[in-house]
Structure formats: C-alpha cells, structure tokens
C-alpha cells in the first residue's frame, strides 16, 4: 500500500532522512519510534508534501502512484491523512465549514458527488459523538481555544469524517490524559483497522501501543531505520531506552 524506498530528505539543506526503506501493506499498522530529532516528524511531513522538506533521493509510492509528485491536496484526495502533532488554529473559520469544504474538494477530485449541508452535518455529528465530542465544538473556529487534548481528539474527528485509506499520525498521543488516550486509541482502531487501510503511527512512547497494537515496530535514529520487529520491540524500548535498543 505504502512503499518507501531509500528515501533521503533535507530541511534547509540539512540532511534529515538518510535512506529510509519501509513498506506498509494494506491491513497493517506500523509504529515508528525513536528519540527526539531522529526524523520521525520529517518523515510524516515529507510523505504529506509539506513545502520546505526536499526529497533528494529515493521514492515513495501509494497504491502504485508516485506520492512525491503530488501536491498536498492531491495526496489528501488520493486517501492520505496526516494527523498533526500540533494541530493548527484557523481563526474565523468554523471546523464544520473547514471540513465540509475540504471533504467536498477531495470528493470532487475523485469524481464523487459532493455532500449537501444536511448530509455533512449528520456525518460530523456521528463522528464527533463517537469520540465523545459535542458537535457544538465543531461550530467554533478550527482548533481555536481548544486544549491540547481537545485538539488531538478533534484531529481524530477530522480523520473519521475524511475516512482516509491511509493515516500518518504524528505523536497523536502526546499531551493526552488516560481517558483521552483511550478514546483516541479506540478511534484509530475503529476508523483505520480494516483490510484495505493502513496506518503509520509516529510515537515516542509505548503507551498508545497498549490501545493500538502495531503489526510492526520500526526504530528510527539519525534519519535511518536501525531496527524493525513485532510489537514486543516497543516493550523492549520502553524497558531499555533507545540508546540500548539502537546499539
């Protein structure tokens, strides 16, 4: 589903990713773990097309399509979703308006009919309720005045509304209390655990993996994958730290 081959990328001419190869088949959840500054977030940004992140070598394909040739909005229309570590505030624009315009823009690109106002609000209400969020929160400007936990929950509501084929979730667990962590974990399983979907879960800690069991765990260090293994690898990292595990 997602195939990354020998990916090198720079930010402001500084090499960050130094040859990453990774394949996530449909139906699997892969966790990317690693210390601060290892390139985890950069990998997410490169895959979603953030300006300023330049690919210098290698390739990334998604369902056989050259992902790196697409604009960010074209990647979204192809079914890619990036859950932000720091969700961005957009003053004056309600979440409902933002998400409806975004979803309909994706649907137009795919040749699907747009959702009417009524259809969209029904979908938004369902998805918000599934994450324990009042739909009134989505009438407020995008992420403005939300707590850290509310922002992460709202990202999952967005993911539920977009219903992507593949999600890259960048530290979706940071800043969450136990209840929110459980709700977010359940959301990821409900929305993304399916035979035709895939997830790249970027995280520092084991704790989210207690709720979302990965099929594979990869350890990133200094821009390279230094170890790969099953879910037990995350427990080993938690016990022994990155320095030991990566050695």
């Amino acid at each position: 589903m997602l195939d990354i081959r020998n990916l090198h990328a720079t930010v402001a001419d500084k090499p960050i990713l130094k040859g990453i190869s990774l394949s996530v088949p449909a139906g699997e959840v892969h966790a990317i773990m690693g210390p601060n500054g290892s390139g985890k977030s950069t990998l997410g940004y490169v895959l979603s097309g953030r300006p300023g992140y330049e690919v210098t070598e290698g390739s990334a394909t998604f369902d056989g399509k050259d992902l790196l040739a697409l604009e960010p909005h074209e990647r979204a229309a192809a079914g890619l979703f990036l859950g932000f570590q720091y969700p961005v505030e957009i003053p004056g624009v309600s979440s409902l308006q933002f998400l409806r315009e975004s979803l309909n823009s994706q649907r137009r690109s795919r040749g699907e009919p747009e959702l009417s106002g009524g259809e969209f609000i029904k979908l938004a209400r369902e998805q918000a309720a599934l994450l324990g969020m009042d739909v009134d929160m989505l009438k407020r400007p995008v992420n403005v005045g939300f707590s850290g936990g509310e922002k992460k929950r709202a990202e999952m509501v967005q993911m539920g509304i977009m219903n992507p084929k593949f999600a890259i979730l960048d530290e979706t667990d940071s800043g969450l209390d136990i209840d929110a962590l459980r709700a977010v974990g359940a959301g990821i399983n409900r929305i993304m655990r399916a035979p035709d979907k895939g997830v790249l879960l970027i995280t520092h800690y084991q704790r989210l993996l207690d709720y979302v069991t990965p099929d594979k765990v990869h350890v990133l260090n200094a821009g390279r994958i230094v170890r790969s293994g099953g879910p037990e690898l995350a427990h080993e990292l938690e016990r022994e730290g990155y320095a030991e595990a990566a050695a």
């Binding site: 979603s48 953030r50 909005h73 979204a76 505030e89 957009i90 003053p91 624009v93």
Partner: protein, 276 residues
Amino acid sequence: MSTYFRINAENTGQFERTLIVAEKGSYVSYLEGCTAPMRDENQLHAAVVEIFAHEDAEVKYSTVQNWYPGDAEGKGGIFNFVTKRALCSGARSKVSWTQVETGSAITWKYPSCILKGEGSVGEFYSVALTNNRQQADTGTKMVHIGANTRSTIVSKGISAGRSNNTYRGLVKVLPNAENVRNFTQCDSLLLGDQCGAHTVPYIEVKNPTATIEHEATTSKISEDQLFYAMSRGLDQEAAVALIVNGFAREVLKQLPMEFAVEAQKLLGISLEGSVG
C-alpha cells in the same frame, strides 16, 4: 434599500450624490454595490454620501465596492475618491458604516461620524483587499462632540501582489464630550513579500474622562495554516480564500446575509493567482 452603481461608458466619470435623512426613531439598512467594465484608461468616481440621523434613529450603510482595479501591471482602473459622512444629531442615534473594498486602482475613502447627540453611536467595519498594483488608503473619522458617545472601529486590510494598503483614521474627543468610549482594532494580513500594509491612526483627546483603546496587528499569511488546510484536501487558492475569509469574519458578519455570501466569494476571486 438596495442600490447598484455602474460606470459603463468610456471616458466618463461618475459623480453621484446620496443623502439619507433618518427621522426620529426610524431604522434603515442601505446597501450599495459598484462595478465597472475593464478599460485601459483610468476613470474617476467621486461621490458624496451624507447621512443625517435624528433622535433614536439608526442607519446601517453597507458597501461592496468592486470597481475595475486595472490589469496586473496597473494599467487602467477606477480612481475611487469618495466623501462619506454622517451626522448623529439626535440623542441615542446610531450610524454604522460597513465596507468591503476589493476594486479600484486607487481608493481614498474615510466614512466619518460626527457624534453630536448625547449617547449617539458610530461604527466602522472595513475589509480592504488590494492585489497587483492597487492602492487603498481608507479608514474613518469619529468625532465625539456629545457626552456618553461611543464608537467602534474594526479594520481588516489584506495586501497581495505589489499593492499597498493603508488604514488612516481619526478619533477625536472634544472638551465637552464627557465619558466617551472608543475601541479601535486594525489588523493587516500580508500575502507575499512585495506588498505593503500601513496603519496611521490619529487620536486627539481633549477630555480626560474618555476611554480610548487601540489594537493593531500585522502578520503574514501563515505557512502552517496553508499546509494544514491543503493537507485536508483544499488546493492552494481555496486554502488562501478560506484563511482570508476567516481573517475578515468579524467584518463580514456585519453585512446583511445575502451580501455576506457575495463578499466572501469576491475576496476569493480578487486573490486568484496572488500566491504561489
């Protein structure tokens, strides 16, 4: 009440005059829209609008100005030099100016309120958007003469291309005007690195009981916001239009509903091709 102004013929100017008198206890909402076809020669529009509000009268005056702005190199376009002034003569009278200025090669326009009646209220809500070689120099004058008079000014300037956008305003409190309140907010948004935003507020206070607040911000359109919106499926132009409309929301929501929808679309259209 709704009016529509258009300059059609070549080599002509337009010099209309509007007078609104609001009788005691009356209310009127007046809308005006302006357009003109594309021509290589500059044309002049110099209008005068005057409003007189008696006791307890309220006038809401809304403008969507979309005169031809000239081409990308600044050739052609309307010179829009307009005088707009209101006298809040009666006690508790109120005049509210709302304007969305997207057109014209050059705009000079300062809708004003003379707040003479005790407890009278003046408001000015403005969105001015300039692109390519456009120049907008606009703002308001709030002259507080009566006691307990209040004014609110909210100005949102959006500059793109090689344009220049200036807020120029006066808040004046005369010696006999007790307990005056004014709140002013001027925000500027820059798209690209060749445009300019300028804020020139004049505040003259001759009475020590006045409370005057002035807030101003200038920011560039945020890369984070653009990428966030694009990662959700909006193309760049749609993302810019969405963020700009959010920036101008406080003013747009003052417009009558049917105008607000048009004005939102107009902001998006006026910015086409301005980022990238």
